[in-house]
Chain length 434, copies 2
């Protein structure tokens, strides 16, 4: 009866889409998972395994016997294996690569050698390369044989005798051509390709711009090394959006809801504490103006509003910069033009907000001068805040520094400090009239 | 000679990839653009026009004569035409649709009827539908004829006599099957489809999860209406990332660097001014504690630090929520579990930061009690801030309210207010010892 059960399970399970197989698999108990390993071939289980998150893969890999595991890896796409191995200890990586088929292991080793976030590190080696002198029917015959193994068969890359990229054609072109036509007559020789060391975000922008389903990755010598497919690009965009948001909110690497509270707190607390130290500098600045403050205690009441307005304006400018960098529009316009435009925007927002607040204070607090001090401080603070919000991420990007320094809270803290100094300087210089 | 020039230009121009044609076109002067319209057929110019941003399309459309413009629209994909028309005044839309071919105009009208950001509004009508009783060679013959016009030929959707979606097959399956095989024998009947009213972000998540190149869009009666292709999804992800960022930074709709300073200031100033009014509430709150403040002026020095820490922690929590919503992980874990986890995280960060600052103040200001007041305030403020940062976007999302209310600055301003009240309440209750 158990035999029959396993057969029924197997049949039903394999009818599901691989991604749904993964979802079902994740809900099984350990004893049930054992039965999955018994009933599925390594080839079949490879599709389930590919759908798991790396953390889940680590746990599951421990449950597999060595031979079965090696066969699972042999049947996975090289880029998925490399993705998994990149997170393991070097010893384990060596063991696993040794147990795998030589050819498959070589592909994985090649991918592991690339720096993170390069085209090389996300490309797949399972592509179909053809020759210019092949005929359409040759290629269709090849697709019949190799099609099921390739990651995509929609674009066919043409290479010369030295494996250099020479052209591209699509399955659409093949189907609309006569079967005796030569590939060189239907291929396009203007191939858009990316270098193996190109940043993954640039690859994503390229594929997005041209609506490609894949882009070929080449060496400096134009040798075709692999392809990046559009589904990899979707993951890159997701990853980059998370990164951008993490940078803006000083929560990089900790927006994952699967972390425990303590793990998240450990990652986030250092940021908060570091920013708190900057807050102490602010406290010192206010301390130096203690005399002014003792004369007019009411000045303290507007500290949060002025700092808040500068912070908000800076954050808006930061968002403009981050989007411009992500979508590549900054190159089109030039750096100084972008910064000048933001400065002008900040000043204009400052004039509008400053006028409103000065009027309000003059009316409600019956204090024209207090209104003037706050209004002028707002104008100056917002102008400066917008420049800081725009410039810092651009400089960081230009100098290839750690973009975390450009995070929203850092910029806000810096703007806090500057706007506070502007406010107290204006107030102190007019103190005799207040 | 001019004739020859035009011929040379035409030949060179058409050799470029359509997206590059668009780039070149954007750099031309008006007189040069006129020559482009003269030398390219509407069919050829349609590809250039499709690559333009909507704002650019509006300007260029004015330069075309009516018949040429109508022919350009007839040759564009219906979803691109709808995208453009959605931004025009109703009168102009009616005129353009009247000038177009009846059949093409009907497709466009259908798409225009959908709400923004639904699957229906981003789907394309140019897909290939086949029948279960067709043979592989029938379909290949059909692809030869219709392939060039369809937006994608890689997935082939099978419909029954009532146009209801019955199955799916791919060109990969066609090529690896014998030419006499029937489609019903090679198709998969478990088709993942989306309803026409599904939110575009969900469609993107689905395509991303399954690594699809396209997803079929169906009516409530399962009638196949169109398809959403992966390149549309790339644009959706881009758009949603911009939206998320805009919401977090109160700069929605104004991160576009092509806006002038004045346009940007006009869009952003209302947010800053509105937030400034909240700042006035904060000023009022500080005003009510004026007596406490007059007794211990030094308390004012720590206002920015406490507010800043609460603001930063709230922003981190906001980032966690926004990412969880964007990637759909929130459903997996449940609302209350997510909020509880964030509260615990906030408290832990509070305890760590509070302890550090209490110690520092005790050492540097030789004031144990001041350290205690600030430390306790930090713990309480950070706990509350994390709950507010997490909960507000989730509630907004659940109630389908305008997510702008969940923007970072609003949450920060709210946290400012609460942390300030906590701080002064703690300080006032301990004032006799300070």
């Amino acid at each position: 009866a158990i035999e029959a059960d396993i057969d029924t399970f197997r049949t039903m399970f394999l009818e599901l889409h691989p991604k749904d197989q993964t979802d079902v698999f994740l809900h099984l108990e350990e004893s049930e998972r054992k039965r999955v390993y018994e009933s599925l071939s390594p080839d079949e289980f490879a599709e389930v395994f590919e759908g798991l998150e790396v953390e889940e893969q680590k746990e599951i890999a421990l449950e597999l016997n060595d031979q079965y595991a090696a066969d699972v890896f042999n049947n996975m796409y090289a880029d998925d294996v490399a993705n998994f191995l990149a997170e393991l200890k070097q010893d384990n990586v060596t063991d696993i690569l040794k147990a795998m088929d030589k050819e498959d292991a070589a592909d994985v080793r090649e991918l592991l050698a690339y720096d993170e976030e390069t085209a090389g590190s996300i490309m797949t080696k399972e592509f179909i390369a053809i020759r210019a002198e092949d005929t359409v029917s040759d290629v269709i015959e090849l697709l019949r044989r190799e099609g099921p193994d390739a990651e995509t068969i929609y674009y066919l890359y043409v290479v010369d005798a030295n494996d250099r990229l020479a052209g591209v054609t699509s399955i659409r072109d093949l189907i609309t051509s006569v079967s005796t036509a030569k590939i060189e007559d239907i291929m396009s020789t203007r191939v858009v390709s990316v270098n193996e060391k190109t940043d993954q975000e640039e690859v994503a922008q390229l594929i997005q711009k041209y609506d490609f389903l894949a882009a070929p990755v080449v060496s400096d010598e134009n040798v075709l090394l692999g392809i990046v497919t559009v589904d990899d690009v979707l993951d890159v965009l997701e990853e980059e959006a998370t990164e951008d948001l993490g940078e803006i909110t000083a929560s990089r690497g900790s927006t994952d809801v699967s972390l425990t509270s303590f793990q998240a707190a450990k990652k986030r607390a250092p940021w908060i504490i570091m920013l708190m130290f900057f807050g102490l500098i602010t406290a010192e600045v206010i301390g130096t103006f203690e005399e002014t403050l003792e004369t007019v205690v009411l000045l303290a009441a507007f500290i949060p509003m002025i700092m808040g307005s500068a912070g908000n304006t800076g954050t808006q400018s930061l968002a403009v910069s981050v989007r411009a960098l992500a979508t590549g529009t900054i190159e089109k316009r030039g750096l100084s033009k972008t910064i000048l435009r933001e400065f002008a925007t900040g000043l204009m927002i400052g004039v509008m907000s400053g006028a409103v607040i000065a009027l309000l204070l003059a009316v409600f607090y019956q204090d024209l001068l207090l209104g003037g001090v706050v209004g002028i401080s707002i104008i100056l603070s917002l102008g400066v805040a917008s420049v800081i919000g725009t410039t810092i991420p651009l400089i960081i990007n230009k100098l290839h520094l750690d973009p975390a320094i450009a995070s929203g809270p850092f910029i806000t803290t810096l703007n806090d400090l500057i706007s506070l100094m502007i406010y107290f300087s204006v107030a102190t210089s007019l103190i005799q009239y207040l």
